[in-house]
């Protein structure tokens, strides 16, 4: 099944430059329906209002971190199956394992390439569409 290019994506990062980079890369991949938030505290109410199909989040942010956001999402009945891709500079093995245990669907370590972003998004939705 092909990727839904109209899906609504929320990009969460405290650095506006990184949000713009991800937004531009997504546009190159054909995803134009994106919104932005600068940390978990701003992102969570947006997600709860509904309509988002995919969450891309940083980890290290002031206010609510990406990890806390992931935990909130997984604990919310309406959001628990929302695909979450973490794009972060956090590179410790323990942290990656913790993110996996918290239910992340993909993990990209910064600095990353456009190809990596494309591959991970495709892989996440391949697995979801395969029902796994």
């Amino acid at each position: 099944m092909a990727l839904d290019k109209n899906m609504k994506i929320l990009i969460v990062d405290d650095f506006s430059t990184m949000r713009r980079i991800i937004k531009n890369l997504l546009r190159d991949l054909g995803f134009e329906n994106t919104s932005e938030a600068d940390d978990g505290n701003t992102a969570l109410p947006m997600l709860k209002r509904g309509g988002f199909d995919f969450l891309i989040t940083d980890w290290n942010m002031p206010g609510m971190t990406g990890m806390e956001l992931l935990q909130e999402v997984r604990a919310d009945a309406d959001l628990q199956s929302l695909p979450v891709l973490m794009v972060t500079a956090e590179a410790k093995r323990d942290q990656i394992v913790a993110a996996a245990q918290a239910g992340v669907n993909g993990y990209i370590v910064k600095p990353f390439t456009a190809v990596t972003l494309k591959e991970k998004i495709e892989k996440i939705f391949e697995r979801i569409n395969a029902g796994g």
Binding site: T17, N24, N60, T65, A89, K92
Partner: protein, 254 residues
Amino acid sequence: MATDDMSKAQYLELAERMVRSLQEDQHAEFESIVEELTDLRETTLFQEVGRLTRELHEALKSFKVDSRLGDIAATEIPDARERLNYVLTMTDQAAHRTLNAVEASADLTEEFTGKSGHLLEQWQRFRQRELSVDQFRQLSRELEDFLALVQNNGTKLQANLSDALMAQDFQDLTGQVIRRVITLVQEVEDGLVDLMRLSRPGSSPARTEESAEAADKKARDDAKGTGPAIPGQDNDDVVQGQDDVDDLLSSLGF
């Protein structure tokens, strides 16, 4: 000194009463004075022990503040220096990467704007019926080459723009590092303020609990996020790029 004077006066008074009671054979009075003297002696001793304990306690507390500052000076300042050097390297690389993309793109656009000028001129001559059949054949070959060039250079331009875009990730990565250094500077400032407070007599440090918290600081840092790994520094237990992340995750069944 005031306490010493008081004890001396008390001792003197008791001694006089003791001598008098002995001379007057008042045994009960004598016994009670000896008792009082022992009490006085013990009270002074306890006060002294109390004072020493307090001093020891304060000294230990100040030692904790000192040792945190010592840690900062010995490990974290050099560490911060490394981090700031990393920021320099990253910003330098990003600037060059962007400039390379801009310079390469300038060459590409120059190539097709130059050619388009010549073609426009020929095209206008053709529209005014000034070209011979041979000249038109030549123009149509040039037009075909030009369209191929636009397509080719357009693809290259797109790649250069992407590269310039990705180069901007330095702002996020170095920003996180700079934030850590700012936190460290703040901690040094607080530590120095504590030291000043300690060196003033009669004052007590307010922030000593923080030293005790240092033990679980690492765990909390990990949960909050610690920013990018610095090459040659954060090497323990850190993945070396996306391939390592993918290997780790697939080992967990991803």
